[in-house]
Subunit: 312 residues, 2 copies
């Protein structure tokens, strides 16, 4: 396997990316090759730090970098030799099996949507985020921002994509899928929720358990919570801001500490034909290591094939 | 002024309702009359407890009670002599100036929508909830559940309603209004957000400051955060579930403690022609006192007239 990673992505790049690669390769991942993409300067620094692992590493120079605040579409167009553009080109040309970046989130989303192919049968890819459950489980919330407006069909597909990720990557045997909604019973909620409920109920590819309200999101009511990307994005960022407050107020609690995205690394784009993982801007060494682990697992388990089969 | 209150509403009724009335009247509110609505048994209990304040109290017997889990519309139809139905009848007949209940939330919403009139010019009333800001300010999130699907016009009206409540009841001089959205700049977000942004920007009745993301909700980016009732409801219940966790994990923090709804009592229905306040099921004595204070303030400040003038 060959995992491409953006050396320039994130607020503390390339140091933290390099640190993450080091941790990952130190854990005896002899089977994995990593392709680092970045400026010559970043590659020089990486080569210095990672000399012991040179057999597992490849480098590709990117002369441009997309800044965190740049307009995604414009930046991708005007910077064809940026590290993010290069990463997607490697994926498209099957020269890499996965791509990871903690750079400009919008550019990563646009790149995932338009630079590589969607798995046949998937109308719109979705982005899943981890929601730690109070009982210790790890649930997935999907979509958290790729699709601000959704049709019922999109939510049904997110349910399938999330279930497969939960089962094959998070090792949950029969993932319970809930529809994020207001009100508990069928027939409650907004127009989208009312329309998609019977579709989820009848879908044989998932184990649908009904509606979940905002208050249920942390309570292990499901393994996969399905929603439109607007609601998911607002919720995810709201939860992150709570975690910032826990940190700044010196609150230490085993469960609340799990809202530290570092523990998970980044969020996977599901429904595209190669694993793509989008890291948080402030990703640290642990986060990059975790993203590499997730990508490796997705490749090892042949996750894309599993998804393709489900959408045949 | 005459404030009607449902003695039967809430998980700990009528004890907590009675306790709240006692606290409120003990604070020298000689100008306020309170009409308690409940079963004969509840009224007997209240009269025993509140003997010292008999001059400020009136009682109306309701022979029926709507349970917390009953279907709102069906319950209101089949129980015309319930305490909630009676409260709205008092409002409709102008025999009370405000109505408070911590009973069946859905029945309170349906009652507010269909038993009393909307202020002329207001298409849809909205429900506002308090969101404590990290700097100590108290912001309002509107709508938190009355309107699962919204048109741009609805959001513009929530912005005006929220601004007026923030200014006249929460004493914020020039409330900043933000649109809850994904992405910061104009043109970002879902179809609803993209459509309403220019309308908010041009509206002379509010001080619009742009988009707020999920991460900004606690960060004093605005005094009024406007969103559709689906997103608002999910967010509010999610925040409440965080507070439950703070409690069960024995986390004590001055700021996080403010997510205790008890501090505010209940959420006001804005845009209807009488003050209506919906309490949380587990409201305690403090919550009922606070709801009475808010209702009194809305009546004293002639809040309904202020709203009517704004929508002329």
């Amino acid at each position: 396997m060959n995992i491409a990673i953006d050396l320039m992505g994130g607020d503390f790049a390339p140091e933290n990316v390099i640190g993450g690669i080091k941790s990952f390769l130190s854990e005896n991942r002899f089977d994995a090759k990593i392709t680092g993409i970045g400026t010559q300067q970043a590659i020089d620094m990486a080569q210095n730090e990672l000399g012991a692992f040179s057999n597992s590493l490849e480098w590709i120079v990117a002369t441009q970098v997309i800044g965190m605040q740049e307009h995604p579409t414009k930046a991708l167009k005007s910077k064809p030799d940026s590290s993010i553009s290069t990463g997607f080109k490697l994926l498209a040309a099957s020269k890499a099996d996965a791509f990871i970046s903690a750079g400009n989130t919008g550019a990563m989303m646009v790149g995932a949507l338009y630079s590589i192919r969607t798995i046949p049968g998937v109308s719109r890819p979705g982005i899943g985020a981890y929601i730690p459950q109070e009982n210790g489980n790890l649930a997935l919330l999907i979509d958290v921002g790729l699709n601000a407006d959704c049709k019922p069909e999109n939510l049904t597909q997110f349910a399938i994509l999330g279930s497969l990720f939960s089962k094959h990557i998070l090792n949950i045997q029969e993932p319970r899928v809930a529809l994020l909604n207001i009100g508990e019973e069928e027939g409650k909620g907004n127009i989208l929720g009312q329309a998609v409920y019977p579709m989820l109920k009848e879908n044989q590819k998932i184990h649908f358990t009904g509606n979940a309200e905002g208050r249920d999101l942390l309570k292990n009511k499901a393994d996969v919570y399905v929603c439109d990307g607007f609601t998911g994005n607002v919720l995810l960022k709201f939860a992150e801001s709570f975690y910032d407050i826990f940190q700044s107020h010196n609150i230490s609690d085993e469960y609340l500490n799990k809202f530290n995205f570092e523990m998970y690394g980044g969020v996977p784009v599901l429904g595209v034909n190669k694993p793509v993982i989008i890291g948080h801007g402030i990703s640290g060494t642990t986060a990059f290591n975790n993203m590499l682990q997730t990508a490796a697992r997705m490749i090892e388990n042949n996750f894309i094939q599993t998804v393709s089969d489900a959408f045949l």
